[in-house]
């Protein structure tokens, strides 16, 4: 139909650091050498954590566990852009985010071993407990942003979810409210191309996920999710925009789930080795290392040192997690309500 155009959009994509470790200097965010090394060390630590979790699971020392392998740049790059006062609402795969924000690794192991005490976040870390029902944390971030705005707190709220999460009604209702109230939220989608066995193109027919933001009257951008500088820059800019009062931003981190969905899954059933291999070239750690090497920030010795350091931290965390005494059965009742109900007291005393 010949009609008149009443609105138009373009979806942008940000790439800074390529697979060879070469950065587009014109786009490069301001990061000190120390920052960059810290980022690298957090990737190594997260990967060490993750690898150990998979081992522990195999040995029956953890329950089902979702690996973050391949998504380190998306997680650490974005979390690194957060300030202490910002709030984070993660999904369930964000161990890299937790670690970057200073969450004690032993508590993560404790949680994945089936002990909810691992989620008792200390008061100075404003990251919310893991969220298992996909996408349902998005309205929480929106509500927290309403509250922060109402209180006049100049902070940003960050929430994480996957490509699968974009299909949920709560994604829609949350995004829509964020748009209407122009809230200080940064929505980060780790588009890792898979939701268990459902590939990205069967999850939604839109060419990008980023474009979904325009349905809610705010901006969406796609970034190379395996490029920590792009992720960092996009998040940093979005947080600044949020704190300026200019509303929400949606960032699609284009990345890949290198591992099985969880330890209960077998991805070879539904995806090809070729696809996985192709993504190996895009490893977020590889390109950062090449970049640092060129800048003189990386040496074999450095690598050995931080690997050792990470192993030490993780050894310690496992030991600590496993030395915690099992919870007392009465604790099962303690957090239902502020006070026990008479019926609970009766139940606690034994049938």
């Amino acid at each position: 139909m010949p009609e008149k155009t009443i609105e138009s959009f373009t979806v942008q994509r940000l790439d800074i650091l390529d697979e060879k470790g070469i950065a587009d200097e014109s786009l490069m965010p301001s990061l000190s050498d120390e920052d960059i090394k810290r980022m690298y060390e957090l990737i190594v630590l997260s990967r060490t954590f993750d690898q150990r979790a998979l081992n522990l699971q195999r040995e029956g020392r953890l329950g089902a566990y979702p690996s973050l392998l391949g998504q380190e740049a998306s997680q650490i790059g974005s979390a690194f852009a957060c300030e202490k006062s910002d709030w984070v609402f993660p999904s369930f795969r964000e161990m890299g985010v937790y670690i970057t924000l200073g969450y004690p690794p032993h508590m993560l192991y404790q949680y994945w071993a089936g002990d909810e005490r691992g989620l008792k976040i200390s008061d100075n870390v404003t990251i919310f407990p893991l969220c298992v029902p996909v996408g349902t944390q998005i309205p929480h971030a929106v509500g927290a942003a309403i509250a922060a705005k109402y209180r006049g707190d100049k902070i940003g709220i960050v929430t994480y979810f996957g490509d699968g999460g974009t299909s949920k009604g709560d994604f829609h209702e949350g995004f829509n409210m964020a748009g209407v109230f122009r809230l200080p939220v940064v929505f980060i989608c780790q588009n890792n191309q898979w939701a268990i066995s459902v590939p990205r193109e069967k999850q939604t027919a839109s060419k990008t996920l980023a474009q979904k933001a325009f349905a809610y009257g705010f901006e969406g951008v796609q970034v190379d999710g395996n490029d920590i500088f792009s992720v960092y820059k996009a998040t940093k800019d979005a947080l600044e925009k949020a704190k300026r009062g200019d509303g929400p931003t949606f960032i699609e981190c284009f990345t890949y789930r290198m591992s099985d969905h969880t330890t209960s899954d077998d991805a070879t059933k539904y995806r090809s080795k070729e696809e996985v291999d192709a993504w190996k070239q895009k490893d977020p750690i590889l390109r950062l290392r090449l970049f640092m090497e060129k800048k003189g920030l990386w040496t074999e010795q450095y690598q050995k040192d931080i690997e050792e350091q990470s192993t030490l931290i993780i050894d310690e965390a496992v030991k600590e997690a496993e030395s915690i005494k099992p919870p007392h059965p009465e604790e099962m009742f303690a957090y239902t309500y502020e006070k026990l109900t008479p019926r609970q007291i009766k139940q606690m005393k034994g049938f």
Binding site: W87, F89, E116, R117, L119, K120, I121, S122, D123, F128, P129, P133, T136, I138, P139, H140, A141, V142, G143, A144, A145, I146, A147, A148, Y150, R151, G169, D170, E173, G174, N176, M177, V180, F181, A334, Y335, T336, Y337, E338, T341, P342, R343
Partner: protein
């Protein structure tokens, strides 16, 4: 003391709590300029502004989900769901989240939200405008369920619900909104959650009801030495008051407008059968809505527990 109806009493409770505590905010559909479809929030946006009385998009799950986030951050949101028939899309946020925030975070975070919603039949309304599915919410540990039966207790219970540190579903009978006026103090007062009230003492039979059915029960007990209990809080319910009465009378009739099967009457009856069996002289009877899809107005009178049906049940248990 002014004589007010339940709409006014609830409005008063909201106003007083908002004055007292800046962290109390309201959100929902049409709660602002319109003052809510039942006028519960009338005047509040004028007094407290759009930051504290938020008209939201048409998004029930989003409303409760946002309320959860606000509560986590430290506010005390009071969310309105326009009718109980539209609370179903919020069940995921209520059961998967609101109920579990304290438990999941081992007390680091809490979820002091109130979800107010008009419930029940009796105003000849459209489909899904007459639901009474309170029992669903009583099966979810971590959630409290409160149902006032009069302007006076509506105010006191709502204030307690707002101050409660845990999520509360607050059900307001549409039929009662404008039916009765009562003296309601403009002074602050609260009524404790989890406590039932003996509306009338008696020796021969215990009648248990809540919300609008309480009034039908009171109309039905004439000429009977009946003890009438207004439960007020369904979850957690006041076991002690119930058992004490039942042990005295030995006969029980429970009345609710929800369908019989798995209604809250089932829990009451089962609890009594467990705790006071030896005192019972007669079967425990439930007078309830029928096990049918809540019908449209033409069937409404037939569906609702009538005075006649309640009387018949009382006569029945009195035979023993």
């Amino acid at each position: 003391m002014p004589k007010v109806n339940m709409v006014q009493a609830i409005n008063l409770a909201l106003k007083e709590e908002m004055q007292r505590d800046k962290s109390v905010v309201i959100l929902g559909e049409d709660v602002g300029k319109d003052g809510g479809v039942f006028r519960i929030t009338e005047g509040l946006i004028e007094q407290f502004g759009t930051e504290r009385v938020m008209d939201t998009p048409l998004s029930e799950s989003g409303i409760v989900g946002a309320a959860v986030g606000m509560a986590i951050y430290g506010l005390k949101p009071v969310a309105e769901i326009q009718f109980m028939g539209f609370i179903y899309p919020t069940i995921d946020q209520l059961f998967s989240h609101a109920a579990r925030i304290r438990s999941r975070s081992r007390g680091r975070f809490t979820c002091p939200i109130v979800v107010r919603t008009p419930y029940g039949a009796g105003i000849k309304a459209l489909e899904l405008h007459s639901e009474s599915t309170e029992a669903l919410f009583c099966h979810m540990p971590g959630i409290k369920v409160v149902v006032p039966s009069s302007p006076y207790n509506a105010k006191g219970l709502l204030i307690s619900s707002i101050r409660d540190p845990d999520p509360v579903i607050f059900l307001e009978s549409t039929r009662l909104y404008r039916l009765i006026k009562e003296d309601v103090s403009e002074e602050e007062y609260t009524l404790p959650l989890g406590s039932a009230r003996i509306v009338q003492e008696g020796k021969d039979v215990t009648l248990i009801a809540w919300g609008s059915m309480l009034h039908r029960v009171l109309q039905s007990v004439e000429g009977v030495d009946a003890e009438v209990i207004d439960l007020m809080t369904l979850s957690p319910f006041d076991e002690e008051t119930v058992y004490k009465s039942v042990k005295k009378t030995g006969r029980v009739v429970i009345v609710h407008e929800a369908p019989k099967t798995c209604g809250f009457g089932a829990e009451l009856s089962a609890s009594i059968a467990e705790e006071a069996m030896l005192y019972l002289k007669a079967p425990i009877l439930r007078v309830t809505g029928y096990d049918v899809v809540m019908p449209l107005p033409k069937f409404e009178d037939y569906y609702m527990p009538s005075v006649e049906r309640i009387r018949k049940a009382i006569e029945e248990v009195m035979k023993y």
